[in-house]
Each structure stands twice: as C-alpha cells, then as structure tokens.
Symmetry: D2
Subunit: 332 residues, 4 copies
Amino acid sequence: MQRIDVALVGAGRMGQVHGPNAARTPGLRLRYVVDPRPHAASAMAAATGAEAATLDQALSDPAVGAVLVCSSTDQHLANALQAVEAGKAVFCEKPIDLDLQKARAAQPRFEGARFVLGFNRRYDPHFLALRQRLDAGAVGRLESLHIVNHDPAAPSAHFIPTSGGLFKDFTIHDLDMARWMLGEEPVEVFATASCLVDPGIGRQGDVDTARTVLRTASGRLCVISNTRRSGYGYDQRIEAFGSTGMATAGNVSRDTVQVFDEHGTTAAPIAYAFPERYAESYRAQIAHFAEVAHGAARPRTHYADGIAALVLAEACQRSVREGRSIRLQEQS
Amino acid sequence: MQRIDVALVGAGRMGQVHGPNAARTPGLRLRYVVDPRPHAASAMAAATGAEAATLDQALSDPAVGAVLVCSSTDQHLANALQAVEAGKAVFCEKPIDLDLQKARAAQPRFEGARFVLGFNRRYDPHFLALRQRLDAGAVGRLESLHIVNHDPAAPSAHFIPTSGGLFKDFTIHDLDMARWMLGEEPVEVFATASCLVDPGIGRQGDVDTARTVLRTASGRLCVISNTRRSGYGYDQRIEAFGSTGMATAGNVSRDTVQVFDEHGTTAAPIAYAFPERYAESYRAQIAHFAEVAHGAARPRTHYADGIAALVLAEACQRSVREGRSIRLQEQS
Amino acid sequence: MQRIDVALVGAGRMGQVHGPNAARTPGLRLRYVVDPRPHAASAMAAATGAEAATLDQALSDPAVGAVLVCSSTDQHLANALQAVEAGKAVFCEKPIDLDLQKARAAQPRFEGARFVLGFNRRYDPHFLALRQRLDAGAVGRLESLHIVNHDPAAPSAHFIPTSGGLFKDFTIHDLDMARWMLGEEPVEVFATASCLVDPGIGRQGDVDTARTVLRTASGRLCVISNTRRSGYGYDQRIEAFGSTGMATAGNVSRDTVQVFDEHGTTAAPIAYAFPERYAESYRAQIAHFAEVAHGAARPRTHYADGIAALVLAEACQRSVREGRSIRLQEQS
Amino acid sequence: MQRIDVALVGAGRMGQVHGPNAARTPGLRLRYVVDPRPHAASAMAAATGAEAATLDQALSDPAVGAVLVCSSTDQHLANALQAVEAGKAVFCEKPIDLDLQKARAAQPRFEGARFVLGFNRRYDPHFLALRQRLDAGAVGRLESLHIVNHDPAAPSAHFIPTSGGLFKDFTIHDLDMARWMLGEEPVEVFATASCLVDPGIGRQGDVDTARTVLRTASGRLCVISNTRRSGYGYDQRIEAFGSTGMATAGNVSRDTVQVFDEHGTTAAPIAYAFPERYAESYRAQIAHFAEVAHGAARPRTHYADGIAALVLAEACQRSVREGRSIRLQEQS
C-alpha cells in the first residue's frame, strides 16, 4: 500500500497519542507537525521523523493527503474545515465544536468528506466485542444499558471554563457510545448532577458528578454514570441487558497478580488513565482512518455523530437546569 | 434463653420462608399457624410441630409472645395492628400497606412496639459487609450509589393489580436500601419506566423496567435499576462510590465450578431467586426479631422505615407520570 | 418417613459437627450421646434434645437403628465393629484405623453393612458439580488432576504423634478425592515432603508440606499439594484437565464485597476452616447416611474406600523414605 | 542514544517475533537479515527496512554491533559463538544447544560477553509483578511454587525428533522460571510423564504430558505441570506459597466481555498462543538486550542460566527413565 503523507495539527495531549500512532501505521507517513508552540512542534517532529511546519505549508504540499486535527477545542472546526476544503482526508478529535449552532452550520461542508471523528471508544476491542455479542443475539433483544465513565482524577478547575462543561467534554463519549450500542436514537433525556469532588469546579459553574438517563422511542433505557474523580483508576464499563440475559464489558487490570493472605485477596488496580486503557482503541482508530484516507473504508464515526452527541449533551445541560426530562424535538 | 411462643399468620410464599426459620430459631417456638386455607395451615403446622388456629385463638393464648405477619398485602396492616394491640411482638412482611395515607394514619399505634418490618436485605451478610466497609471509611466519603435489583422472571400479569405496581412492590426494597446505605434522606426523586418484558403488565397499567435517580440534600446521587425479568437469575448488586474509591457487593454463584475450553470460560449461573439468594438474610432477620421479641435488641427496620420507603415509591410513580423530578416536600 | 433413633459416639470436634446435623436431618432422631467425658456428653445431649448414655446402653436399645462414630481415631474401628455387629447402620469418621493391617483384617465383618465412611468432600456441592461436569464430558477425556488441600494453620505439635502423620491424617482426603475423580485406580505413587511450617512437627518425625504425584494404569496423572499452614485460609481447589479443556472447582469467599482504590482491588478472604467451608458437605453426608440407614440408598463412601486410601497413604510414606516411585502391587 | 546496527539470524518463527521488535526498539536499527532461505530473508528485510545478507557479510560490517540468533536449534551455538567472537553483543534464542556437554564445553568462550539468552518469561510483566510482590514479602518466606505451562495444541509428531523432547524443548522454560522464582537452586528432581495427547509423539519416543517436582536444599518444593495440548488456550500460571499467604499470576483473557444467561456466565477464552500471550515479554526482552548491547545493563538471562536449565531437563529425563528422584550432584 502506498503511503499517504500526513500532517498533524496540534502536538499537545492528544497529538502526542495520534502522532506516533500515525507514524507507525502502515499506509500513513507522518510528514508535518503543526503547532503554534515551536518547541512542541519540533520535539514531536524529531521523535517521529517528521518536520515542523505551518498549517498553510502542510496543506499546500500536494503529497499531503491526510490531516489529524488535535488542536485546542476552539480550533477543531476551523482546522478541519480548512483541511477538508483543501481536499484532504481529515481525522478530528472530539468535540467538533462546543457551539452546536456553529457545528450545525458547517455540517454541509463535510458532506462526502473522508472525515473520521475521534470517538475512540467505538474502536476499543472490549466494547467492539460487546457490540458483536449483542449483534449476535447473546442476550436477546436489547432493553437497557448502563455506562460507567469515571475519570481517575479531576482536572484542575482552571481547565473547566474552556472545557464546555462535564456533559460536552466528558459525557459526550458516553452519549456517543449509547447511540452506537442502543441501535436506536434517544428521544428523551434526564440528567442530574452535583459538585462533590472539587468546589472549585462548582465555582466555575460546572458539575463533577452526574447521572443521565436516556430513553428511546421503543422504551429502551440507558443510564450514564459520570464522575471526574474515581479514586481507583479509569472506570470504563458497560452493562447491556436484554430479553434473555446480560452482557458486560469490564475494566482492564494492570497485571494478573493476586495476593491471598489472612486479610483477604488483593489484585492490581485497574488501568489508571486513558492513554493506558484506550491505547489499542487509538491505534485501531488511526488504522481505520488510514483506510478511509485511502478510500478503502467508509468512516465509522462521522461528523453527524458529533452533532448528534452535542444535541444530547445540550439536552443534559437543560435537564439539569430545569429538573425535568427533555424531549429531543424540543431541542432543535 | 426461654422460648417465646410464636404465631405465624399466612402460610403462603413468605410464610413458608419465615415459619420454618422461626421453628429453628433459638428463643422462639412456632406454636400456631393461621391461614384462611385450612390445608395450608395444617400442612405448615405438621411440618414445623405447630398447630393450626385462628388469629383470635392465637392472640388469646397468653403464652404467645410474638406474631409473624405473612398474610396477603391487604391484610398486613390489620393483622399487625391487632397483634400489636394484643401486646405481642410483631414481625411484618413489607409493605405495611399499599395506601400511604392509611399506613400513616396507623403509625402512632406502633409507637414503642416491638415491631420489625421485613426489609430483609438489610440483614444480608453481603450488604452488611458492604455497609461495614463503608462505615469503616474504605472508600472515603460516600458520594453515589448504584443499586441493581432484577428479578429473574416476571410474575404473571394477573398478579399485577394487587401488587401495588413496580415501585411499591419491588423498587421499595431498593428505596429502603438506598436510605440505609446513603446515610442521608433523599430529597428529590426522578424515575422513568417502560413496559418491555410483558405487554400484559402494560395492559394492567403497570411497568416492568425502570430507572430511578435519588438525590440527597448534600448532593449524593443514587441510581436504582429494576427489571421484572433478567433472564440470567436474581441480579442483586450494589456499587458505592466514595471520595477515594469504589466498594461493591456482587452476585452469588450457584457453585464455584468453571470450565475452560476453546470457546471461552463458563461459570455457574448466579443464584436464581429470592429464597436461594436471601436465605441467610431471612434467617438473620428472624434471629433479630427473636432478640427484639425478648427485649434484647431495638428493631433495626421499623414502621417508620416502611412509611419512608412508601413515600419514595409514590414519588417515583408521580415522577413517571409527570416526566420531572419530584421534590420530597411536594409529596407530603 | 419414620425416624430412626441415632446414637452419637464422641462429642468432640467432629461429633459437634455431626450430632447437631443428625438432630436436624429428617428421618433421624438423635437419641443418645456417648462420650467418656460426662460433661461433653451431657452438654451435647442438652443442646440436641438427646440423652447421655454408655455405648452398651445405646446399642442395647432396640429403637436405636444407627450410630455415628466420632470417637478418637484409635476407637473408630472398635466402635464401628461393635455397632455393626449389633445390627446398626454405622457412619464412621475417617480414618477407619491408622493400622492398615488391622483395618484389612476387620474388612470382612463390614461386608454388606449399612456403613458410610466420612469422606465428606465427596458430598461437597462444588466438587459434586465438578464431577458432574466431568461426567458430562465438559472437558473430553480426563487426563490429569491437580488437588490443592492447604490447612489454614498447623495443629500443635503434640497432636502429631497420634495423628498418623500428614499422609494418613490429612492427605488421605485427597487420595480419596483422586480415586473418585480419576475414575481409575492409581498404580504408582511418588511423594516428597518437607518440614517448613513448624520445626516441632519435624521433631515428632512428621512433615508439614508435601507434594504427591499419582499415576494410573492408563497414564493419568494427579498432583496433590498439601501444607499444614496456608496463612490465607482453607485452600480447597481442584483442577481437572481433559482432552478438550480444563474444569476447576475454586475456593469460596466469605462475602462478595470488593473494594477498589488506588492501591488495587481487595476482596474478602476465602473461607477459613473446615466447619465453614464444608458445612454443606457435612449436612449432605448425614442426609445420605439417613437414606442408607433407611435402606433407601447404597453407601457412596464405604469401608473399601477407607482401605484404598490407607494403602495410598502408606505408599506416600514409603516413597518419601525411599526417594522413588512406589508401584502399588509392591504395597500388598 | 545512538543506534546500534543489528543482524537478525533466522527469519523463521522466532525471527518473525524478534526482528520487527528490534526494528522498533530505540537504540537498535535492524540492518541485516540472514536466512538460508532467500525468500524468507528478503521478505523480512523488506518489511523492516533491512537488507538480506550472509552471516559473514553481516559480521564483517563494523557498524553491526549486535546479533539476534533465531536460527534452528542446531545452529544456535555455532551462530552465537561466531558472533561473540566477532565482538558483537548477542541475543540467542533458547536452548543454547540440546547437547549439554557441547554447551558446557563452549561456556568459557562466553565469559564476559554481552550475551542475553531468550528466557522471555522472566520479562513478562505479570511474572515480573509476581516476583516483585514476593521480593517485597507479600507472602512471607517462600515455601513452594506451582507452575502451569500448557500449550494450546500439540506440534505435529514430525517436529519431535529435532525438538530435544518435552523436557528440553518445553519444560525448560519452567525450569528456568523455577530457578528464578525460588531464589535457590533445586538439588533434587522427580518427573513422571505420559503420552496422552498424540500416540505419534509416543512413537517418536517422547511424552506429551508431565509433572515435575523440584526440591531445593532448604526443602522448598516446586511442581511443574506440562501438557502439549490444553484444548483451552495457552495456560500460563504460577502460584507461590509462602509463610503468610499465596501470590498468583494468572492467565490473560482475550477481552473483558462476559455474558450472563440462564445457563451461566461465559467469558472470553484465555490468550491462545505464545505470540499473543508473551508479546510484551518479547518487546521487553529486546529492549533489555538493547541496554546490554549499549553496555548500560548487565544481562538478566545469561549463558549459565541456559546450562543450569539443561542440567535440570536432563535430570527430568533420567528421573522418568529410572522412576526415582535424581539428586543434582549425580548429574555432573
């Protein structure tokens, strides 16, 4: 397979995940690293055999066929648009934008694009295996879901104002997962939330602990459990209940060692954080993007999925404010 | 310890659990079995060395010091009142009554009584061990709970009209558990429900699948997951999330055998139903009642707990009808 | 079912297990307790509604149809013989005798007797479930076994001289289990042993840690792992390997609570000791004896099983002494 | 860190594991691939950016500082010797040679060499974690070990004649693991073996199922359980028993999905075979070799470990033949 040259936009937290993965993915070659901080760009470039450049330089290189948008959230949409309109295949970290209206307005310009949105959990082997078991009828007709997404430790409160808030920043992964697993769109949303972890988060007007209940037209129910700080690692589980049983995807432990003594049985902690827990999903996602860039696959997570998750996140916010269920048509 | 003579009222499903337990509990002697169906009364009496009698006969025997009320739900309150007013110690199956107003009206007559209400799960060794771990600070400050209560198979639809509905008949156990584990009263309730298991249940105006979210004054959150039919046994789990970790109480398997072959690893099903899963809790509950009857312990589950759970169950029903959170003061 | 009157001989450690079980077993009535220590006999008698008596008194009562021999090991054979010859059904704790020649000499007098030997583990629900899975072909043709039997804490060294030593006192349970699970007699035995737990045990000429390898005529292999002190509870496991997979029976935990925090995952200890771990097996064993006593079942663990296990235990001792495999025909 | 050029000798089963790992390891650059089969060499070279060459060509390149010996077993020693004498750092797959005398004769020529022997399991994160827990005193003073090493499926019988037999080919990993975990050399070996899996293996004079018992001078005991065909995947477990408890390292499952239905609980199979189960150990081993090659670390698995394991493997063979324990000094 011929290699497509790739430009990475953003060498921060997510760029440091996706850049090296792109460098190792057959069918891709990391060519440029774009970052407003020159040192960040050149360090990543050096580590991956790429070259620091501006976005304009990278996009004007006709050999560049693909762009990874890992910039700060407020740049996602602009960077992705510029790359798509330059004819490149685009991978874009979630969320597309924190502003639903803006994201919707741009949607037509992504029609037909080779565009993959970074809902990485759909590429996780454990959740994929769960989905396959459900599709194979392992628990009969799906009736309800329980999604646990607990971060190990809260971000510092100063991150909150630009984050979009718990629902758009964090729950959005679960809202996408719910849509994917339920096989049916939610029509009603209820959410309730507290600030229990860090009063500083509350002072920024945000919450850190939430429970969300989704309901589909056929009556399927989905609960999402979120906290910004678990204290015990990155708790990432799904339980799916069907007409003949339950299927679950559980946490991954750091090792398989167990110690038995008079006080009980002790096992290793669960995986601590996203780079460790989701390493395989990130690799698989970029491998999928390589196929999309080559025209060999249709995107599994597209722009419309980003819009749909944002709509649900806004409904969550409104439900918390109003203390009632929000029907989705009210949201338009 | 001298034995107190006991009268069992009701030799049906729960009487068949509590009667033999009372017969085996040190400090109690099963003396009379009361049941409007003569054959049921005499069969139980024969099996336990007791004697069939009417309630009046039993209560008029001065040697009888304790009564187990296991009659049909609509008789609970009348039977319990009659026994309390005859000066007997009373164990009463839940719910006290399906009618909250009626139950409240009778409450003063139970003041000071040696009265134990049948919220058996508080006596379960697994949930007790969980509570002890929480009290010992194993996960820091408690922040949220997740309670799973899934029955293995739905009751026949004709049971529904006299059941009080899902929330008063089934969720009520979880509402009591939530109060006990949270260590703080819920002040807000949201519930949503579907009829997914049996359309016949829906035709009776009831639901069979529900999710309930409770919220306390300090912002603690509790989700309750209910279904009338799990397909995989009697799913009875609790997850408690605190400031430093998570503590869980899990299902009990029927045996410890596992089979590993090329298709995977297979373990025994979880305990199928309440008599098997909660056998120990029923024994411990009657042992506790024996202590209460002897004046050696104060009731751990009292009339007021029954009232509080009924208030929450009614709030659930109202929340489902109105599609919004119900604040508890609205409920008075 | 008419009740058979039972005499319990020995109100010590095992008598305190079997006496109360017999008192509760349908079809049996505990009538007499025989113990050279008057206080032990009368305490047990009071607790179970029985009466203290001498063995001669008990055996001369024609209503007594069954005897439980739980005396000290050196009395097992004499007590059992006396009871069998008085025409009673006999349950006898293991071992029949520490002296294989003596046990063999008496064997003809037990021919046709309603006699159950106390190899209780064959009645354990977990091991029974394992055996049923093997019989059902869950792992194909059985090829090898691994039996773990680790006591929680070593007996005091002064118990050792009358114990018969590790192999006759402790491993004997595993030798019986191996015969039962393998479905084929061992023809070759190798054992090696150390004194690692308590030098006092070594000074008595015994060992406290051993590994035994059995081999059947068809080449099936069985390892037995023993220690007198595990430090973590009563480790009782079996792994069975077959042509298509592995089946295991595992330990039972004290409760299902797990705590997850930054240090890892902690679960309850496994069951600590035999009365807790094997409570169900003891009940089932006496229930089986009741059926045998009534002539409704054939003994599942008979005198010949005791002889066979003793033969293997002696081969283990000889293997340790001689540092080589012992073929069973050498043992006659 | 400057990169050392590496020559891979052998592009077969193990070369295909180590070659790509070397190509990705910082501090190494895969430069040459040597294989008598030209197509195998050039395919591997193409996939890793290396070049096909003869061993002489590779060794005569002064830029080549390290050699990976992954040739057929009968070439290991000759290849390793040639590379060591050319002054290269050498990684060599196990076993050094099937002929203990030959291996011993060459030993002096490896004194002081930067030489790493391919006992990969010492680099496995699970077994490393177990060892660390033991070293930290998690179970007190180590007393005994149980090592399970069951291959998923037997090799074809025609592989047997050149394999060295079960003990030198397969058990040798466990003999090395035992030495490493016990922290003390075995002084006595007993082994027994059967041919239960494939009569064709027996016709080649080999066995496919074995149990080995090692004993150290202080009386520590170690059992090794081996079969060529488990039927359920690659069973790789260790149990370590100490004075205060047990520590275990368990199998790795393919995913975390579990399905619960009326028939029981089903989980994914365990990892099927060595490339999947030990992928991390192979990477860590080559990373360690890179450090050794750079002079930054001392070898963790050296030539002498290969000799010691061979001595034990020969003792196993002799024990099977003679039906007795072999004391190691008898082995000279």
